[in-house]
Symmetry: D2
Subunit: 116 residues, 4 copies
């Protein structure tokens, strides 16, 4: 096949894959009932679940249990972006993309840190 | 308050709570990427997550890894009712309800086993 | 089959079904991006989707768009219990159960209103 | 700030955004109860919901109702990638990315069609 100018580069295709993992992670698990006690098992399950997806090298999830404990009115709350920091590394055809989600201006911002 | 004839009994209120847990469990976690390797961490996370909810005594999730391995085309698949058996026990105001989900006629059937 | 004392009554079985619909509705759609403009189509989709489930007579969803508009920091937010009121009517073997979710003490409370 | 060689290009950042929308769409709505009758309202709700997200120009969802009707055992089934085709267009800082999901080899493949 001839390559068209509008075809994605390797970097663009790898960043698309990284985005898919982030959207999947967030919308699969947002809303899950979580407490400081149950946070560790949820972190592990999210990591191992998303690592199943194609091109996914590693997923690291940190549920912010102190913030969780401070903000929950009852004995648990629902997981949302405010309560977690996530790093996802994708490797597709030799192109490695490091991506991260953390709070910025009160909003869980997902961004690409590096493409190599 | 006077009790109306149409008010729920303790057994009815407890069964409503048990149903909520089942619907929550199923629709929160259906669609999660899962493989035989990642099934154990997902089982634990589902159990501990739903046990956070009010009146929930215990949740037992068994992901059917042999069936999973036999049916997945790629290295993982999406969790659905076909791949799990679940028991949820609710205790509300002294009324204990045991409920279960398992396949029946090719359909993941949720049912009340006992109300005591 | 002989009926055991611990078998569910018709009312208990109907309340279990109503609970399933509530848990399903909440955990399927919590986290959905929503704005005042997109709220009407989401209300309709939630209603028609859950009405597909067995024994489900009617589902009425009211997304609180004024509250949504007041609380969102950006142009949209994620749907959660704070932003909706829901009524679900189940009819199973002639037993009709009316259930409702609305905010109570800052928490989206689901309850059985009547069993007939 | 100095630009590092490993910083994402505009095309890479736009493809990351497109991926997020795809992962979000899939994992928010997979598992939703759907029938041929309720498919149109669900299509509209998915489109309007994801179009709320940043940089999202347009979302087009086609639920394959004939396939749905042919494969469902009961009066409804759960939405999954097998039953829908999706196009998402993202525009970020003047870079337009067209992405698509459709079945390929029995698997719902998401891909970048063009970056301009």
């Amino acid at each position: 096949m001839t390559r068209n100018d509008s075809d994605p580069t390797d970097g663009e295709a790898a960043c698309f894959e990284a985005g898919i993992k982030f959207g999947a992670l967030y919308h699969q698990f947002a809303g899950t009932p979580v407490s400081p006690d149950s946070a560790p098992s949820l972190e592990t399950a999210i990591e191992e679940s998303i690592e199943n997806q194609p091109f996914c090298e590693s997923v690291t999830v940190d549920i912010l249990t102190e913030k969780l404990a401070a903000e929950m009115d009852h004995e648990y709350t629902e997981l949302t972006g405010r309560f977690m920091e996530v790093e996802i590394v994708v490797d597709r055809e030799g192109c490695e993309v490091v991506t991260r989600m953390e709070m910025e201006d009160g909003y869980p911002l997902m961004k690409v840190e590096s493409v190599r």
